[in-house]
Point group: C2
Chain length 351, copies 2
Amino acid sequence: MAVEDSSEVAAPAPRAAGIKDVAAAAGVSLGTVSNVLNRPERVSPKTRAKVEAAMAALGFVRNESARQLRAGHSSVLAYVMLDGRNPFFTDVAAGMEDAAAEDDLSLFVCNSANLAEREAAYLRRLEQQRVQGVLITPVDPDSPALAELARRGTPVVIVDRKRPGTDHCSVAVDDVRGGELAARHLLDQGHTRLAFVGGPLTLGQVRDRREGALRALLAAGLGPDHLVDLATPQLTVEDGSNAGQRLAGLPSATRPTAAFCANDLLALGLLRSCAALGISVPADLAIVGYDDIDFAAAATVPLTSVRQPRHRLGRTAAELLIQETSDPGHVHQQVTYLPELVVRASTLRAR
Amino acid sequence: MAVEDSSEVAAPAPRAAGIKDVAAAAGVSLGTVSNVLNRPERVSPKTRAKVEAAMAALGFVRNESARQLRAGHSSVLAYVMLDGRNPFFTDVAAGMEDAAAEDDLSLFVCNSANLAEREAAYLRRLEQQRVQGVLITPVDPDSPALAELARRGTPVVIVDRKRPGTDHCSVAVDDVRGGELAARHLLDQGHTRLAFVGGPLTLGQVRDRREGALRALLAAGLGPDHLVDLATPQLTVEDGSNAGQRLAGLPSATRPTAAFCANDLLALGLLRSCAALGISVPADLAIVGYDDIDFAAAATVPLTSVRQPRHRLGRTAAELLIQETSDPGHVHQQVTYLPELVVRASTLRAR
DNA sequence: CTCCGGGATTGAAAGGTTTCACAAACCTGG
DNA sequence: CCAGGTTTGTGAAACCTTTCAATCCCGGAG
């Protein structure tokens, strides 16, 4: 009167098989299973097959916490991005992901949404997880938290910002140059009175782009009064649209005939409100954006924009990070790319 | 001749202080430090202060791997999204993030980029990490991998898709209804020949939206031949633009006077190519998109679109997941939201 | 002065993996 | 058939934290 072997009963929740169970099932020792996992070449094909069969049968899934605890390192990179809703950053992340995948690492993407507090919370969490390294486009690149993180042993790479210190690598695009390109282009088109749409000035990107525009003016012999500031609280489509309203409200005598926007979201918003207000682009107002996101070219008045090598930016950043973690003789470097102006209909010279 | 105490030498890499070091520094036991961390109310204010001071002095950072190994659970949720470059999913993720933050959990965002292989790799990695649960907009909701993941103990919530089985919760929007809304609106405007722009049909979202359009036609007494398929390989701006070229190439006798696009990216691409080809929107071609991403309203011909409660979609999904992990008596539920048509200039009735 | 109750603290076990020094088994050629 | 070298396999320690039963200490009741 044999009782049905319990292994044949569909156990509802056998609770996660571990390496130990696999070893038992395969009739080998713990260490051997571990070897199959980590150094398969050191185990004979026969035993390896046995072990692999056991793993499959038990639905074994390696416990990464335990692995990491013992091995001391994880295989996760993280990117803390500044604005998850800006396609620019999404593309940067895609570049990182490609680089990470090549080294068999995962990329953990977090979105600080430009909130210092949220950023800090993520950094804390990531450090606790002992991620292999952190890529970050910081709310404030001078924050001491970043330096400390690095000092305590988590490599940090600053993305899309430069940082004078020598604690980390950084990858950036020359925003001053970008601003210069944009403004010079507008001046070349015969405009002499430009609007600068963007903010807050606490963002280095915004500051630098504006600074570049000023330089271009200066080089053309025009004073800073030829740059009309239309400050925005954020860099969203909505803010750009609002700026358009304000622009339209200016007396036509002093109203700029061209606008340089700190990013494409603003530019698209501006474009929209121009359409709504009957301001023709580029005849009445030329517009230059920044980032050259896909939607820039897709806008019905395709947008002139300053292109940044976003994919490469991300890829390079991730590569530097990986290098830092693997090469003991690593020295920090600051990579700077040059932006490029892409001219489209939104600034075609008015006849 | 005393040798300088080594503790006074600035050690270059003192290697991560652990709970043990804190205990030693504070003159208490291991367990007490742990209590300060996990049940502060059980330790007297005096000792707590001592311990906290020691932690600060040593720059102690809790080791999450060890914690998780012992405690058995992590505090990370993950969202595997279908297309990181589509703002719709970004917004969904933002909703999840809010819900997660409320419960003091982190959200790990991964982008499968519509690649089954990448998706599988992420799922494997996440399971190894023993994340608390997985939110996913799957490439293929019928993939057995999902069911198995759930069976092995990682809760899974399907987002933006429904799944007949009873293994997980799901949160979706009724795409058939959405397609119906879009098509009926066009029919109401007097159009009788519609283009459907979208693909691949392996994506349930695309299939359902198309299906809805067919139903609307049927309800209006029109056969399926009144729906002209412009299949696209993906759902990108570029694909939409290409579809526009093809549309323009159709003999004007049979050319549809309205287009329903499976998402806004396609619609924006279509819009762009119309502008380039001199097809006026909406006079020559009415366009309806889907998702109502921010750029839809921002397009220079603002886009009529089917709005989905994306933020809520994400939030609800995360809430269900959290509930599943905390409430033992949890029963899986399938939540379905209704979409809503947002009418804008791109379909204003032609005079 | 002893005993008791209860809050504060302790110590040891446990959790799943990797690592490493070592043992066993096998092979090669003398 | 054996010595010595190589290839496989083993077992125990270590990683850092959490948990929980046990101990300690203190003041108050008897």
